[in-house]
Structure formats: C-alpha cells, structure tokens
C-alpha cells in the first residue's frame, strides 16, 4: 500500500472510507440534524472547548478567511505572527480584506518569541487582534501557543489561531489557552477527506464579530450559528465528509485525546531519531518540533526532488517537498491522523535505501 506521508490529506482508516458509501440524506431533516449535533459535540471535546464550534464547507484556508472576515473590519490593525508559509497566508488574507497588517516574522525553522509579541503589542497599541499559526506545516515547527496566548492576553487582544494542522493531533486546550478563534481542517488530524473546516468562536470572539464590518456572506458566522441552532448549516454541507467525520470522531474519542497526542509524540520521536541516524539535518530544534510533520534539511547540494521521485517510484511513499523559500531545500514527512509507529519505521527504511540513489551521502 502507498504510504501517504504528507501533512494532509492524511490517509483515512478503512472504517472512515466505508462510512462515505452511505447514501445521501436530507440535510434539512432530523436525521442529519442528529448527526451534525453529534459531530459538533465530539469536536468540542477534542477542541477542549465550551465555545461554539461551527462547521464550514471548504478547505482549511476557507476557515482562515472565515475567521478574518468575521472578526475584523477594514482598517483594523492586526499583528500577524509568522513562522512560515501559513503564517504569511493568514497575514495575506487579512490584508486582502482591508486590515492593516503589522508583520512579525521569525526565522524559518524557529518558533515565535512571546517577548517579541509583547514588544510589538507595546509598540502598536492600536492592534486589535493577533494572528498566530499554532503548527507551521511548512517548517515543521509548533509554536508555544500557551506562552503566546499569555502575551496576547496581557494586552487584552483578540487571539486568532490557525490550528489547521494541530487540532486533534497536538494538545490545544482552546479554552485554557484563550483562543478567540481556532480553525482546523478535516483532512488533517481528523483522519477524514478534505472538504470541511471547523472554527471555534469564544464569547469575546462573538463580541468582536458583532462589530466586524468586513464583507461576508458564505462564511458568515451569524448565519452559521443561527443555522446550527436548528441543527443545520446555512448552505448544503459536505454530507459525505460529515459521515466520515462521525466515524472518525468516535474512533478518536475511543482512543482518547491524551493517547492520540502521545501517539503523535512517539511517532515524531521515531521520525526525528531515524532522520538523525541517517545523518540528515532536522530543520526544527527538539523543543519546537511539530508532532504532525517533520522537516528534513535544509540541503544545498543534493537533489531533493530526485529523492522524492525515487521514494514514490520505488517505495510507494509520498513525502512532501518544501514550500515557499524552502522549496527544493527541504523535504517533509507528514505524520498526523491515521499514523502509527510502523508507518514511520517503514518510511525511514525506504529513505535509507533511496538516499544514496538520489546522491545523498550516507
């Protein structure tokens, strides 16, 4: 079987794929309503939140756009904390819809520094919201969100968190860490196909929403909330993804979120130890290494593209290339969602065989 080791879509368990063979039902009927309520209830447990969690039909980036247009007005100032491609994307969305964006960029492969956030918030008291990536897929770095949140909340700012690739895989207690908005996407740790985004909104987030003037229709949180009260979505939901999700969430709650987080930590340790024994560099330091994706590199000499081609052709293993400035310089091993220790051991064994063929020195 192919080893799909990219940071989403993740492979789906067979039970989840099978759930999608269920015939369509009326998305305005009671049966769907029960299903949606069950799914939202389970999502809240894994988000560790009492906040509303809204179901949106779209990719994770759609969830990010939804967060921006529902929380902000044109002309609002936001501090955009970025440690890579997805941090830049969050900033670009805010800029597109008319926010004044103050970028706070950190070196690729490093996490954001809470004290730098404090300094920026002191320098720019007009900042209304802080945009943070919890887990930066492009560099394999997880931010210390708890500390970043403490910094943001010292200044009483809105905290908007891109948790697309962390929620469900890495501990993120949304309420304890005061996330006003936290966004995830179905194809990540949730082990289901892409097509839905989930967004939690805190009471403070709802207050901001009442004032927010960016134009919105499809992504409007008021419409989503009013419809959720009727156990519906404002627009036709991706019903088959909801079926898949109902199954995967049961599996996740049966495994237990602490066990899921521990499994992702174990898998990460195996990946990082293995990469080190192969003599390859790791982009992120141990203290900030993501538990959902491991970035290997940077390389200057050897041909990373060739390595990925050999991994695919000879080992049926799909790894991810670098994005943005890291294109051609790193490769990434995704290990989120439906992943176990042996999957990563197999990837490492394949890498060991492929590296010399691709011209990497052992």
């Amino acid at each position: 079987m192919e080893q799909l080791r990219i940071p989403g879509p993740t492979p789906c368990p067979p039970e989840v794929l099978q759930a999608m063979t269920r015939q369509m039902i009326n998305h305005r009927g009671e049966e769907y309503g029960r299903l949606q309520d069950e799914v939202i209830g389970a999502l809240k447990k894994i988000f560790q939140t009492k906040n509303d969690v809204l179901l949106l039909t779209g990719a994770g980036t759609g969830g990010m756009e939804a967060a921006v247009v529902n929380m902000l007005s044109p002309g609002d100032t936001v501090l955009a904390v970025s440690i890579g491609v997805f941090g830049e994307r969050f900033a670009a969305i805010a800029r597109t819809f008319g926010a004044e964006v103050i970028p706070l960029d950190f070196e690729q492969g490093k996490p954001a520094d809470p004290d730098a956030v404090r300094r920026a918030l002191r320098d720019y008291p007009r900042v209304k919201a802080v945009l943070v990536t919890h887990n930066e897929t492009s560099t394999g770095v997880t931010n210390d969100l708890k500390s970043l949140s403490a910094a943001v909340k010292e200044f009483d700012k809105l905290l908007m968190v891109d948790a697309v690739s962390s929620l469900g895989s890495i501990n993120l207690p949304v309420d304890d860490w005061h996330c006003d908005v936290a966004i995830s996407g179905s194809q990540k740790g949730w082990m289901v196909p892409p097509g839905m985004a989930f967004v939690s909104v805190s009471p403070e987030g709802w207050r901001a929403h009442q004032q927010a003037k960016m134009p919105r229709f499809y992504w409007d949180f008021t419409k989503a909330k009013n419809n959720a009260e009727k156990k519906q979505t404002p627009w036709t939901p991706a019903v088959s993804v909801v079926y898949a999700l109902a199954t995967s969430l049961k599996m996740m709650l049966a495994e237990g979120i602490d066990n899921i987080f521990a499994r992702h930590a174990r898998v990460t340790r195996i990946a990082r130890d293995g990469v080190r024994s192969l003599g390859l560099p790791l982009l992120a330091a141990d203290g900030c290494a993501s538990h959902t994706v491991t970035a290997v590199g940077p390389f200057n000499g050897p041909d990373v593209g060739k390595l990925l081609k050999i991994m695919l052709a000879e080992h049926q293993t799909v790894l991810a290339s670098g994005q943005g400035k890291l294109a051609g310089k790193i490769f990434r091993i995704g290990h989120l969602g439906w992943v176990h220790e042996d999957d990563i051991r197999q990837v490492l064994a394949s890498l060991e065989a492929a590296l010399p063929k691709a011209g990497f020195r052992a």
Copy 2:
C-alpha cells in the same frame, strides 16, 4: 430504500458512493493532476463550453459568491433578475460585497421576461452585469435563458448565471448562450455528494475579472486558474468528491447529455401529469416548468408539513417544503441527477395514499 426527492443533494449511484472508498492521494502529485484534468475535461463537455471551468471546494452558494467577487468591484451596478429565493440570494451576495443592486423581481412561479430585462437595461445604462438564475429551485421554474441572454447581449453586458440546479440536467449550452460565468454544484445533477462548485469563465469574464476589485482570497479565480495550469487547486480540494465526480461524469458521458436531458424531461412529465391526476395544483405553467424540481401548490387550507411528515414516516419518501414566502404553502418533488421514471411513479403512488391522511381532499 428511502426515496430522497429533494432538489439536492440527489441520491448517488452505488458506483459513485463506492468510488469514495478510495484512499487519499497526494493532491499535489501527478495522479491527482490526471484525475483533475479528466474531470475538468468532462465538465466542459457537459457545460458545452470551451471556456475555463474552475473547481472550487465549497457549496453552490460559495460558487455564487466566487462569481460575484471575481467579476465585480464595489460600486458596480448589477441588474439582479429574480424569480425566487435563489435569485434573491444572488442579489444579496452582490449587495454584501458592495455592488449597487437594481432588483428586477418577477412573480413567484413565473419566469423572467426578456423584454422587462431590455427595458431595465435601457433605463439603467450604467449596469455592468446581469445576474440570472437559470433554474429557480424554490419555485420549480426554469428561465428562458437563451432569450434572456439575447436581451443581455444586445446591451453588451456581462451575463452571470446561477446554473447550480440546472447544469448537467437541463440543456444549457454555456458558449452558445454567451454565459460569462455559469455556476453549478456537485450535489445537483452531477449525482455526487455536496462539497464542490464548478464555475465556467468566458474570455469576457476574464477581462472583467482583471478589473474587478472586490476583495477575494479563497475564491480568487486567478489563483484557481494558475493552479489549474499545474493540474492543481490553490487549496486542498475535496478529494473524495473528485473521486465521486470522476465516476459520475463517466456515467453521464456514457448516457449522453441529450439522453440525460430527455430523461429529466420525461420524469418531469410523469411528475406533472401525476400531480394533476391527484387533483393538486402546479405552481409553474407547462412552458416554464423546471425539469429538476416540481413545485406543488400553493395550498391555503391543508397542512403541507403534515403531508411531508406522513410521506417520510409511512413512505420513506423525503420531499422538500417551500422556501421563503412559499414556506408552508407548497411542497416540492426533486427529480434531478440519479432519477428514473419509476422513482417518480413511486412518489406519486405514495402521495396518493398520504394525501387523504394529511387532510388533502382527493
């Protein structure tokens, strides 16, 4: 088996549901690229277009929002031709993003009058684009789009068509009828689950897009087009819906689009003849009756809600209620996508048994 007879989601053929059990693949890899190209090629045949067709992950309403924000600038004037709830929705989206909307509303159950469009375009020469619903799901009326297009093109305006519930079921030659943008949704005539929208863009549409200043990120057509050239989408696509679509499009092309349109026409005739023999009123006249949904009513006395409950509880048949001003006054029989003559005969037989129980006079 349940008879899901709402105007989308439509039931999916077993082959289509089965296609979704396929494991996830890399949405940035060659295998996905081939699949996307194949799907887009087939969509173009059914859209009867040489224009670009873009794949968007979202509901049909997302596709409508995408059309608006990619074609228009705040302050642009649009003529919004409305014959029901979905016409009003198209207008509301345009208004939300800052267009000046001139509403041209027609009586519910009636089609739009091309001469009224001509008069409006003469009265408001500043109109840049005309928004039209091809098939109005809420009333079961199909507009005479060919004639409406002729009126719009006499004045050289942009023609933006909500074809969500018609494309793939009712003849709509996008190029011959000069649609600058035509939008459809996966859960309609395409016989696949909801989660994707398809939008065609004409060369004139692309020229309008270059000037259009409404804010857009997730829905941006330039990003979609640039990525389509690499056989990708800008954001992670709903991969399992693409699998389903690849299967359903093969089935559709094997049946032949003329045969599909003829089947929808036959099914409609059976539905309308049957409704008449049951002594019930039809909202739309024969000349404008939709081939994807039949609206029955309006009723003033009998309890439509009770009828739909009996149809569900005793006949496992899901019909749709009225929307907007027609809520409680009509019910609707969806017959699009995976539907055959016997499905509708069964619905009619169930209706015959249910009507007296619900207090409808025979």
